[in-house]
Every structure is written in C-alpha cells, then in structure tokens.
Chain length 321, copies 2
C-alpha cells in the first residue's frame, strides 16, 4: 500500500532533553522496543513487531515516514503509523495486485500504477515481456527515496527502462490521460480515510474507466473482508455502475496487514470480455529475463483462480448487493 | 485449537496486597487493558486485543485458562497465553477443519474428534445428517465447562444426541480404538511444543491410520505456512510414510491466529480413493435441521477447493519434499 493517513500513531519529538534521539511514539508509548499498529480503521486490535533498529524517520509534505529493522519481518516501511510493506511478506501483496490483472488479459502493453511508490508493483509488472511502457504516479517523493535506500529488492522495479516516474497527485494525473490509453491500471492505494479517500470514490473510478482501452482492466487495493465489508460493499456498488465488462473481488493473505488479509477489486471496461478467474496470460518463471528480481515467491495460476473464491459471509454481500 | 502449551504468557497472582483482583500478566505486563499474544512459536511479533472485561481465569490440571470479553472480537478463549477461539472469527477455523474432511467422502457415519473441547467442531460435524455417532476425546474438562458457560454458540455442538464426550488423553484413547472404526478423524490440536507434541509424531499418525476404515480421512491442525514451514515439512513427510491414499495440505484465514492463517493436513488411508480438492458431499444449507446452530458463515464448496491452492513458496516445499 502506498500511504495511509488514518492511523492515530505518529512520529513526535521525545526525550530530547536527556540527549536521546527522537523516538516515534507508536514505538515508545505502547510496548517498549516494539512497534504497535493501532488505528480507528481496526479498533480494539493491534499487531506489534519487535524493533531491532530505527533506520529512518521523517515527515514529508504528506505523511510521517518511518523505516525500522524488525527482528521477525526484515525492514518495515510505516506511513502515518500504518505498516505498508515488510521485506518478509511484501511478495504476497505485490505479486497478487500485479499479476491478477496482468495475467487476465493477453499482451498487456501500457500499464499505469497509481501510488506504489516503493517500486514493488513495478518490479512485478516488469516481469511481463509484452509490456512496452509503465507509468507510475506517486504523490510522495520521500517514499520513493526511502524505498531505494532501505528496500533495494523492492525498489529494483525502478531500474526497468520502461518505467516513467511521475511525482504528483494520481487523481489529477488520471484526469489528464487521453481516453483509452492503458491496458491495465493498478491502484496501490491506502485506506479510504484521509487524503486517499478520493481514490475510492465514483469520480476517480470514472477517470480510471476513461483511461482504459475497451476490455482494459483495473486492480485496486480493496481492504479486508474481515474488517471492512461495509466499505467493500460501497466500492462494489460504485464499480458495478461504471465498469460494464465485469466486476470481481479477490483476496489474499498478508500477515502484517490488519486481520491478515487484503482484498482487490478487479474490473474490466466494456469490450473484449475478461474472465478474471481464468488467467489467459500465465507467467512462465523460467522466461524471467531479469535475475535481479529473483523468482516469483507467491503468485501462480492456481492461487490466481483461488483468490476469487470468497467465504460465505463475504459472498452474500459482494455477489448480491 | 484445543490447547497450546508453548506461550510464555501465563496467569500469575498480582496486586493482591492492595485489594485488586488477580490479573493475568499477559494483560497487565504488555499494553495496559490489552491482551497480547507473545510466544516463542512466533518470536518478534504479537497480536493484541483490547479487553473489556475478564470473565474467567483458572488453572486446570493441564493449563492456564482465561476468558475475556474483547471490544472487537467478542468473547475470547485463551489457553496458556495463546488465543484459541474468538466469537467473531471461530467460524473460519471450525467450519474448515470439519467440512474439508466430511465433504470429501460420501456418507460419513462415525467421526472422532481429538481435542476440540470448545464444541465448535461438534457443532459443524452435526450438520451432516449421514453421521450416526460422534466421539470426542478432550483432555481438559475445564475447557468444556468454560465453553458451555461463555461460548454457548460454540458449545451448542454438545447438545447433539449423537455426541459421546470422553475426558482423557487422545493418544491413549486412539490406541484403544478397534481397527477401522471411523470414517473421519479430526485432530483439533494445539502447537507441537509441550504436551501436544505427541499429536504431531509418527506413532500418533499410525494410531489414526489404524483407527480409520480403508479410504477413511483425517484432518489435523497443521500450523501456518508463513511461520512454520519446517514443522509442516516434517508433518508432510511423516504422513506420506503412513497414509497410502493421499496426502494434502490446505489453509484458510483466521485473523486472530498468528500470521492470520492456519493450515490443515488432509490424508486418506488406502482404499476407495479420495480427491480432497473436489468435494463429493456438499453441504446443503437449506437442509440444516437445527436452527440453534445458525447457517454456515464461512465454508462453501468453492472455498473448499481453493483452500488447497498454495502460494509458490509453500508449494515448493510441500509438493516436492
């Protein structure tokens, strides 16, 4: 996820009077030497990671940025108190949000990523040899900088010559895109409270649909079936109004995200039909041209199809709203 | 899960000198008024739940037993510091560990549950009208008592007249079972450190295989692909030696279990072949005879098949060891 502005924890100045360095209060005020993720988006529960070393903390124009080395999950990127990626489990999120859309259509050529400043989605998009151009629009330059410094295996995605980085607002960027430009749009966004709220609203989805070619596909981060069914229900309803091809929900496991799962909306515009549950463009690991990226760790064609199978409580809401 | 003896947190006497009630140290010592699950089984991370009210704490012959009302997940059962069930997400674990085996064979009649003292697996087994008899062997009577008092929607499973409860050691119970007695054995066990260790070892699996009819099936709790691949690899290896029908691994999401997922080993004995991924005995919700149990919340035939699709990192270890 690119950023999240809803978490209560934030970086504050502490302990300067006795010569200590600044310590983020989400670490010092909860469990000593542990980072705890507490937010009104998931009240009454918190996931905590033991901190080995704080590697970076800063305040960008948009959010608090924290990077620490954890004892169990490698380096961890935290924006406004919410975990965005950890080295140990980022593969699940990045591979699924990317290959679910790209493996569902033949010969994707032009791809747009909104958010995703860490570069992980770029790394995955660049595995597809059919892709000719990848635009990425990330609002916060500091996220790109810390990713390149502390998450080299994620930010490796920027090394692909097909990538064009645009630092700016994704909503504005999309409005300026000529109609029918992209085969795929991936929205690697934060939660729909705060500045990212627009990325979950009807006008934004209308811009996405306009930017896609007929039969083009979008994949957006779409929260947890355990925590946010009311948000998912709304997104599904909006997408059904706008995307006249198909509208689907998929989910996967990410241990360091709240409730341990994250979901995706997968929609296509009117045009050549797309059956997301049956991937037509499988990734052949052996053909991967770039050794720096390493092999796929999480995604395969079977888990692609399985991701669309929902628990009954979620199916009742998503399929019949 | 029935019990877990590996967690470090335990119930201790505190604050008696100033007239306060006893407070479990897993609550008071981590985040005040929150329960934190810290264990050497998942070092460097902890899931925490806000406590509204402590409902019960005691020490049985086998373990520390704690029940509290959480603000986000309803009532929570904790054994030796590890969360076993919460009212909000128990459906995922209970429905999957039960219906994965029972829906994989035609006309299951005799079922044995090892562990599962809370009664949730019984509730699910009893949805199957073909079942004639259900034995359950739980080691700890206190677990049965607190489940009946604080988790009535789970312990409702005990109300089925087909159920026979045996308080005792599951290993000893199984040894005394005549060969070929059961169609299905479900092992709702704790983690393989401490007293439950035997339930993950070769002699136990041999007893299970002996107790099953030809083509009978077993489903055992089998840890998390994110945290315990080395344990899973060992279990798979042992099961391949013993179960000559088929050996499979499935997983599902449970937010309050470490890493947010839990897995299951599904094996069959030599005899009529069992294809676990294609359920032959689907549950028809509308035929449910007992209103007290409510409808299925999580399980359906699609999620049954999907549960066997593994992320690539797990597939490499499980399918080729």
């Amino acid at each position: 996820m690119a950023r999240d502005c809803c978490a209560t924890a934030s970086v504050v100045e502490m302990g300067e009077e006795d010569g200590q360095e600044q310590v983020p209060n989400c670490i010092s005020s909860i469990i000593p030497e542990w980072f705890s993720e507490i937010s009104p988006m998931w009240p009454g529960e918190a996931h905590s990671l033991k901190v080995e070393k704080i590697l970076f903390q800063g305040k960008s124009e948009y959010q608090d940025v924290l990077v620490f080395q954890s004892s169990a999950y490698g380096n961890v990127l935290v924006l406004d108190g919410a975990i965005q990626i950890t080295e140990r489990d980022e593969c699940a999120y990045q591979e699924m949000i990317t290959h679910l859309p790209l493996c569902s259509i033949l010969n994707p050529k032009k791809v747009l990523v909104i958010g995703g400043g860490d570069g992980g989605v770029l790394r995955e998009v660049s595995r597809h040899s059919s892709v000719e151009h990848i635009d990425i629009c990330e609002i916060d330059a500091m996220v790109v900088e810390v990713a390149k410094k502390f998450f080299p295996d994620v930010a490796v995605g920027y090394e692909d010559p097909r990538v064009s980085l645009h630092i700016g607002d994704g909503v504005a960027f999309l409005k300026a895109v000529p109609e029918g430009t992209y085969d795929v749009v991936i929205v690697d966004s934060s939660d729909p409270i705060g500045p990212a709220q627009e990325l979950f609203e009807k006008p934004f989805f209308e811009s996405v649909a306009k930017a896609l070619r007929p039969g083009g596909v979008v994949c957006t981060q779409a929260e947890s079936i355990w925590l946010h069914m009311h948000i998912i229900e709304e997104i599904v309803s909006v997408c059904r109004q706008i995307f006249k091809g198909s509208v689907n929900y998929a989910w996967t496991t990410v241990p360091t995200y709240p409730s341990g799962v994250i979901g995706f909306m997968l929609c296509s515009t009117e045009g050549p039909p797309v059956d997301f549950q049956r991937p037509v463009n499988p990734i052949d690991e052996n053909k991967d041209p770039c050794k720096a990226k390493g092999p796929l760790k999480f995604y395969n064609s079977e888990i692609h199809s399985a991701a669309f199978c929902l628990p009954t409580f979620a199916k009742r809401v998503i399929n019949f709203n």
